[in-house]
Amino acid sequence: MTRRPRGLVRIGRLYMAGVLLFLYVPIFVMAAMSFNASRLYRLPIDWSVTWYVALAGNEKLIDAALNSVWVALVTTVLATVLGTAAALAFFRYSFPGKRVMQLLLFPPIAIPWLIIGTAMLVFFFWIGVGRGLHAIVLGHVALALPYVVVVVSARLRSFDPNLEDAARSLGATPWQATRRVTLPSIAPGLVAAGLFAFAVSFDQFVISYFLSAPGVTTLPVEIYTAIRKGFTPEINAASTIVIAVSMTLLMVVARFYRFGGER
């Protein structure tokens, strides 16, 4: 075993630390500024929770936050149910057109959101669906679906189909076999997929931006509008809460589902 010189390894680790600093410092700066009483973000920081108190009284942002949570919950349920059903079909059966159907999952992820979002706007307007929270849910489910199928399929790969056959030969109907045998054994995958769907929806900005009706919108869109109009540290407080929620969620996802890396 040839050992690399220690010096190079150390430089590598320092570099890695530098990249992590680059990724996290702005987020921490933003969070720290949300505790700064100075409206002009003056340094050094004058620590206070003024802006969180102001945030609690800002009905527009609170409404937007509630909308975000509501949309994300509905998206989670719909995307998880629809995506899991599709993943089960791909797992159990081989049928003509299967490859094509699996490939069709990629356009929603691969085409820039700007184009998907504006296309949804045009189409929903045209057929009379219009804009609003219902339109946002329609869009978010479409974005979350491919991720659910991928996550659940990955989990199904370690599921032994003989278990289902055994249940069937013992007299279970297909539905009973699915509900009592398959679903419980892939439960961690379902939880991960659901949390993923929640995160996709909760963090989505572009699609919500094009599909929200005036006055009724989600938190990211409200934050964007505020940023463009000239903002106060209240926005920092709202943003800090958003990022804390999504990072916590993803930590939980990571417990249920290993992203690519081996143990």
Binding site: T2, V9, L20, L23, Y41, P108, L114, A199, Y224, S239
Partner: protein
Amino acid sequence: MRLTAQAGRVKRGRDRLAAVAALTGPAYLWLALTVFLPLSAMFYFSFLSDVPFGKRVAELTLENYAAFFQESFYRTLMLRSFRLGAEVTFYCFLFGFPCAYVLAKTIKGRWREALFLLIILPFWSNALVRVFSWTMVLRGNGVLETFVNWLVPGVGSLNLMFTYPAIVLGLVHSYIPYMILTCYLSLEAIDDSLIEAARSLGARRHAVLWRLVLPLSFPGILAGAILIFVPVVGSFMEPRILGGRAGTFIGTIIEDQFTAVFNWPLGAALSFLMLGFVLLILLFVAPLARRAA
């Protein structure tokens, strides 16, 4: 007897198709209604002279596409967006690849797992908020200026906010995790003993890098590049927040057509032109990918 067996097989085949349809139907119906039909509708709109709502009369026309080729303004912006995409992709590779290498080849066990999670965590968290966080760092009298002036007194104002470099910085920050992730996955698959064999046969460090590591991790680099390039070309929120007046790109022009100017057919045409150019570039890249695989 044989007939019933055949009938049974046909029935089983039909049952299976029914099951497939029942399981996949709802998901694909949803995708059709929210992604594929809207894209088709927008393609149709891009050939109209006006939106076909209410009493408005819309005729089929090529004018929206012609506008792009007649007005140098749109071409300049399209080029600017593609240049931005190329630059951001390049910087993500330049800074992300070494990071992926360090993670895949020099760090082991639980540490690697934790660092891996730390790198992909921001990329799954809110993109808008992360871009916004740069305004706190870059603004005049902000954290970066204060820090630089403390380090080297007398530097004064940096004037970084609302410039092209600010946009590049924000986008690299947003997208570098993709590159680290895809490079890490392909670097991790390279057998360490291959590198050791090359070294023990006398290959120099840079030869190992250029002739072994880079070619073997090329699929990962390419995947990362595509995942970054495509959305950056279509970005509009990042240029708006960090670029101010310097932040006009094809993405922001398309956004304007839908939210400010309400010229939907032109916006649709510009969207499809952008998508078309992206696909052209991917077609050029595809043979490279095949050779690498």
